[in-house]
């Protein structure tokens, strides 16, 4: 084990000058060593590790530019299709009601043969 090398890495770590690869190497070393000379850097590293786990901000996926107009377009499409479906249902209902009125007018208008005959034949 090259103690001086890790001491250098520790110093660089405290100066926030480590590359990610060096940091991984240093953390692997710190997890194994019992050398009191590394206690200070271990304490700092564990402090940051705990802080990270406690206050880590979940990465929220950014809203992409195309999502807003696409959302509005989708909402409009749903709205228009619902309106058209409703209007179609209303038109169909109106057509059926008109049919009922027309047929009621026709089948209620004809002369009732029974009534006419009874009027003729009743003295």
């Amino acid at each position: 084990m090259n103690k001086n090398y890790y001491k250098k890495l520790s110093q660089k770590y405290l100066d926030a000058a480590l590359s990610p690869r060096e940091e991984r190497r240093l953390m692997a070393f710190l997890s194994k060593t019992e050398d009191p000379e590394f206690d200070e850097v271990k304490a700092v590293a564990s402090f940051f590790a705990q802080g990270k786990s406690m206050y880590a901000v979940k990465q929220v996926r950014p809203v992409r530019r195309w999502m807003v107009p696409a959302g509005i377009a989708a909402a409009l499409l749903v709205g228009v299709s619902l309106t058209l479906t409703f209007q179609r249902a209303q038109r169909e209902e109106g057509a059926i009601q008109s049919m009922e009125r027309t047929l009621a007018s026709i089948f209620s208008s004809g002369t009732d043969i029974e009534t006419e005959l009874s009027e003729l034949l009743t003295p």
Binding site: I96, T102, L103, A104, I106, F107, G110
Partner: protein
């Protein structure tokens, strides 16, 4: 060639089934007697008519003068000649009411032609209805006759 002929044949069958199957009033429904824009038309077909025992309902409403009314009257009367049962009512020389049971379709469905006309100051209000379905004239009277007996 055979394939095209069979397509034409089925197209012909479909057209003849969808029209009023050789009736004189077909011209009226097609807008060839009175311009379509002068008529109020209501065409319904399909499952919505099932509760009434019908599969096709076509109605026309229009207002016409004496000459056009006479043409329509003649078409109705011509169709009534082939009728199995009919009820025709006249006011003077003019046909004012008709319920005509036409010969059945090839598939055995009942067909009816109904006509109602009323004159006011030389203008005729005319309603013509074509019905097709399993319902009989008795069924239609039961369903739609709202007159107190």
């Amino acid at each position: 060639m055979k394939r095209y002929l069979s397509i034409l044949f089925f197209l012909f069958l479909w057209v003849s089934a969808s029209a009023q199957e050789g009736l004189y009033v077909e011209d009226l429904f097609e807008g060839r007697v009175i311009p379509a824009k002068m008529m109020k038309r209501n065409y319904i077909s399909g499952s919505k008519l099932q509760p009434y025992g019908l599969d096709t309902y076509k109605s026309l409403f229009f207002q016409v003068g004496e000459g056009a009314f006479h043409t329509v009257e003649v078409l109705i009367l011509k169709d009534s000649y082939a009728a199995e049962d009919k009820q025709l009512e006249y006011d003077g020389d003019h046909l004012t009411y008709a319920v005509i049971c036409l010969p059945k379709t090839q598939t055995g469905l009942n067909r009816f032609l109904c006509f109602q006309a009323k004159e006011e100051k030389g203008i005729w209000d005319v309603t013509v209805v074509y019905l097709r379905g399993t319902a009989t004239v008795g069924d239609l009277e039961t369903m739609f006759n709202k007159k107190d007996k």
